[in-house]
Assembly symmetry: C2
Homo-oligomer: 241 residues x 2
């Protein structure tokens, strides 16, 4: 039995009851070290299998081995288990080997939803999620998606917006979106959603500060109707108010 659990952005309060129950029911907890630390209150006395970034495949294979031994295993992802998380990888590995291990996917609050609540209500209308990491996706595909998302006037949530190894992706992304996103389009920047050091900044497309953004950041770009009111970013749904 494998639970693939989305633990939410970070703080305990943003976990679902189902995630907590699944953690408590598990005998082995498998995850990236940072995420293991976030749930440490729930997993005292359990067997922990943790490793570093970019070891996702190894980690999921370890989880499957533990499950084969008959143990109840929890594989944890931050945010949701299925949005850039581990659910797909676990199911892919099992489908490839045609292994019959029961899997329960436990959903969670993804980082953009957590960030949006901090910013006000930026994602009230049709939106896209795009990860700017080209570790697993060709950059050309990402460019095309940015172009289409901006042309469709979606609210755009950027995951993995900028890292030491990918300093210029975010700036390139803004260059691509510029054709369609007006210079006054609000841009919400939230660091460390639900974690220590959480903070938000609201800028505009034209005055974007790329240096503020790192891998712990979610960037949300408004649509044509999004506006800033005091310290909030608001996208109208279309009601007459």
């Amino acid at each position: 039995m494998i639970y693939v659990i989305g633990i939410g952005p970070g703080k305990r309060e943003l976990m679902t009851l189902e995630a907590i129950n699944a953690l408590e029911d598990s005998e082995v907890i498998v995850g990236y070290k940072t995420y293991i630390d976030l749930v440490k209150d729930f997993i005292q006395d359990k067997e922990i299998v943790q490793n570093g970034m970019r070891k996702e495949v190894d980690r999921c294979k370890d989880a499957i081995e533990k499950a084969k031994e008959g143990k109840k295993v929890a594989v944890i992802s931050s945010g949701d288990s299925g949005i850039y998380g581990m659910a797909g990888l676990i199911l892919e590995l099992l489908s490839k080997e045609d292994l019959k291990i029961k899997v329960k996917v436990v959903p969670g609050v993804t980082a953009s939803i957590g960030a949006a609540a901090i910013l006000g209500a930026p994602i009230m209308h049709d939106f896209c999620h795009i990860s700017l990491s080209d570790l697993l996706t060709p950059w050309e595909v990402i460019e095309k998606r940015l172009e289409m998302a901006a042309a469709g006037d979606f609210v755009i949530c950027l995951y993995n917006p900028r890292s030491k190894g990918r300093q210029d992706h975010l700036e390139k992304a803004f260059e691509i979106m510029k054709k369609h996103k007006g210079e006054n389009t609000p841009v919400g920047i939230v660091k460390n959603v639900g974690r220590e050091g959480e903070n938000k900044t609201i800028l505009t497309f034209e005055n974007m500060d790329f240096e503020m953004v790192d891998m712990t950041t979610i960037v949300i770009i408004g649509n044509k109707s999004t506006y800033i009111h005091e310290d909030q970013m608001i996208t109208p749904r279309g009601y007459v108010v």
Copy 2:
């Protein structure tokens, strides 16, 4: 004080601790009747303000009036509070009247994330949310977004896909996406996510059954890599497995 609370798709287990705490801290609960029923265990002895569909503006104005009286008010949305929910409307109304009432937006698990967990892992990669309701959005805007989302090979989550008054929207949407979505693209259909009568069906783009879909349904259309394995819909993230 107004809490705008995302209560998750339906069942208690998919609520966050923060949502439960906020409900318990509130004196007045404002919401659409169906959603009030979903949280009735948490709101015994509280003042309830409920009304029907399409009364969103009235409902939010009522909530603001109660808050002006000094009461702690919870406005509830199903799923997340900010994705097609009430957070934006509350903040819009307050910003328009420049009222200084404290608002806390409490995020929740939106229906697509709940549906995805039931289907397997269909939203593992870049995705879009599009509502097919043209009550608040011109149909031309929706068409454009469908076209762009399909051209960008996003996983596409359709909200409000089909109702009695909008029988043909979903079929029209598929017609628009057909240029870019291959006939074998998996399509996940989940009814009543997290509620009584929950059920899922996985079809392909070519063999879509529009009659199965109603307003209680979420439809998730895969990207070029999405595949079906047994009763699961899986979108690879791009790991080499």
